[in-house]
Amino acid sequence: MSAKPDVIQKCLWPACLVGLFITGILSQNCALLNVHLSTVTWQNLKLLSNRSKPFPIECLQEKKAFELPQEILSHTQPVKRDIKKVFYEISSQVFNVFSQHTYKSAWEEKYLMEIQMGLNQQMEYLEQCLEEEEKESEDMKQMEEKIWSGAREPLLSNLELRRYFNRIGNFLKDKKYSQCAWEIVLVEIRRCVFYYFQKFTPLLRRK
């Protein structure tokens, strides 16, 4: 792995917001996890906001349009579970991005480790929640296997997201993980998370 700049820190913003978002999503089944998740998320947010390095202007020319998928869930009233899945996807992809990072300084290492820990926790909490729900619904809907084998809709949305993150990943690889590439990617991820956060929070509150 080539050395990656410390741009990743900015990436955390979205991750944190993802977490923040997720807290609202968790249903009664995950009431306690909800509490912990919100704590974890808040910590991440605080960590992220410490990062105040401005975007280097020289990197602007390498900008690329990643085409953030605007319509991720096809229903007008997406199910809570689908939204959770979306956010699980986002947090795990962002975690992926960070895990490729190598640290430049000891401070950076510590800082990024904490954020990755936070992200990991978010993912784990969400996993637990979703698995719990799955088990419950499997018990209830044993006859309706059709739903489980098919289940196209949620996967569709996740695929959109994956294509998006794929584009980001390819961009990084093509630019050989340069400093500018990282900076751009981070801005993009932050944008992505903000967008979904704003889009889905009202839907979640409605339920």
Binding site: A31, T39, F95, M117, G118, N120, Q121, L130, W148
Partner: protein, 492 residues
């Protein structure tokens, strides 16, 4: 129309299968394939394979497994399915979960299935036994289950002279964590290590990432205490090893520590008020100590226990509201209350300690009704009294300030003439008369010759002080005055 591209690795194939793994395509995009047979110059028409998304269709292959045996555990080092730069699972490498099926080689009956992390261990095995296992990977959320790896077998080693510590527990006390474990032998030294939980996900081989817990190196007791600030918020794994100086035991089972789950719930603060024959109880937020983070907003319910001070019979109430009334109690009795907060989740048995005991005496019964009746009666009684008093006062005032001025009725008999009556009755009216002072004419002429006749009167009167001869004193009675006036008028 689509732009059909030649598929590398699938050109001029003589068999009926081809491998196009080398193609760098996006596995999340829909692709369409078409195939035709060729013989010399002749070609068959194209047969189009329905479009598909590679990721959807893809199945998870077997993971690669490397085993390392201890005496009572096996370390399972798992590499994710696919190659390192495989396109298919590039985004999911960290999301794989692995389940292991393990059984004793001798009897395939007692099988066990466990979920392990890569680099994870399977515990509770017997030493010097051959175990066989197979591993499969799955992507839970995509509902993809991979195929099993081939079966791997390994022998557990001879039992180590020193067993590993067991039953690791982590408790919170004040600002420190207390790590406790059990050990069968005495006079041992122990050391404890920690690892960030997420390393298990991202690093296949994380054995070099374990670090010493400060304050837990070479401890003699079966516990060690370290400050909470050693671990920033997150999840960690802890493990303990025993040593007698020469030999060391294998590492204990790893205990997961989630700093967020360790929070201590503080007891609530209760306040009470007695209202008639019931008690109004308020449950307030716990006192927050300085270093504790802000309240976690757990969903809490409160367990309230109260009893009569004299008896021991306790009544337990479970309440979610923080403000409620306990009705129907004995009046003038002392009741005592204590409460604790419990997390509203069956799986999680966490509760705070009990709050301080608060005692309160209930009020005597029916007091309010008595007061109301008394008040009403007093009001009813006092109204006529007040009216009477006011009337009396008004009469007094009228008598003093606005007397009716009627003469005694006898007077009418005495005075029959009208004029005298008038005299008596209108005594307040004073009759004023014009008085003229008589003076010597000499003084008049010499002093004021030119003065007009009208003014003479006035001037005469002003000089009366000099001539004291002819005019009378004022002390004389009115009768003489009136005669004088008549004289004067005659002259002038």
């Amino acid at each position: 129309m689509h732009n059909w591209i030649e598929l590398p690795g699938c050109q001029y194939i003589t068999g009926t299968t081809c491998d196009f793994s080398s193609v760098k395509l996006s596995v999340f995009e829909k692709i369409q394939l078409r195939i035709r047979a060729e013989k010399g110059n002749r070609t068959s028409p194209w047969h189009e394979v329905g479009s598909f998304i590679p990721f959807r269709k893809a199945q998870i292959g077997p993971p690669k497994v490397h085993l390392k045996a201890e005496d009572k555990a096996i370390i399972v080092n798992i590499s994710p399915p696919g190659t390192k730069d495989s396109l298919m699972w590039a985004m999911d490498i960290l999301s794989f979960t692995y389940s292991v099926v393990i059984w004793k080689n001798s009897s395939s009956v007692d099988e066990r299935t466990e979920t392990v992390y890569p680099g994870g261990k399977i515990y509770k095995l017997s030493p010097e036994t051959t175990y066989c296992l197979k591993v499969k990977a799955r992507l839970r959320l995509h509902r993809k289950v991979g195929s099993y790896s081939p079966v791997y077998c390994v022998n557990t080693t001879v039992e180590n002279k020193l067993p590993s510590p067991e039953n690791i527990e982590v408790d919170v006390k004040d600002q420190s964590y207390v790590l406790k474990w059990d050990y069968t032998y005495e006079n041992m030294t122990f050391q404890a290590q920690w690892l960030r939980a997420y390393f298990k996900k991202i690093l296949g081989n994380h054995s070099d990432k374990w670090q010493q817990i400060p304050g837990c190196e070479n401890v003699r007791a079966t516990q060690c205490v370290f400050p909470q600030k050693v671990f920033s918020k997150g999840a960690y794994f802890l493990r303990v090893q025993a040593s007698d100086g020469n030999k060391t035991s294998f590492w204990s089972e790893e205990k997961r520590l989630d700093t967020e789950m360790q929070t201590v719930i503080l007891p609530p603060v209760i306040s009470m008020k007695s209202v008639d024959n019931s008690l109004h109880i308020y449950i307030g937020a716990p006192r927050e100590t300085e270093n504790k983070s802000t309240s976690q907003h757990y969903p809490l319910i409160y367990e309230i226990i109260f009893w009569e001070n004299t008896s021991n019979a306790e009544r337990k109430i479970l309440q979610k509201k923080t403000d409620f009334i306990v009705p129907n109690l004995q009046p003038l009795t002392v009741y005592c209350v204590k409460a604790r907060a419990v997390i509203e989740d069956e799986k999680w048995n966490k509760s705070s300690v009990f709050s301080d005991i608060l005692c309160e005496k209930t009020k005597p019964g029916n007091t309010s009704i008595t007061w109301i009746i008394a008040g009403v009666c007093t009001a009813l009684f006092s109204i006529p009294v007040a009216i009477y008093v006011v009337k009396g006062l008004l009469r007094c005032i009228n008598y003093v300030f606005f007397p009716s001025c009627k003469p005694p009725p006898n007077i009418d008999q005495c005075f029959s003439e009208q004029s005298l009556k008038n005299l008596l009755l209108s005594a307040s009216e004073e009759q004023t008369e014009r008085c003229f002072i008589i003076e010597n004419s000499y003084s008049l002429v010499t002093v004021e010759e030119t003065s007009q006749v009208d003014e003479d009167h006035k001037q005469y009167s002003s000089q009366t002080s000099r001539d004291s001869g002819n005019y009378s004193n004022e002390d004389e009675n009115s009768g003489s005055k009136t005669s004088r006036e008549l004289l004067q008028q005659g002259l002038v």
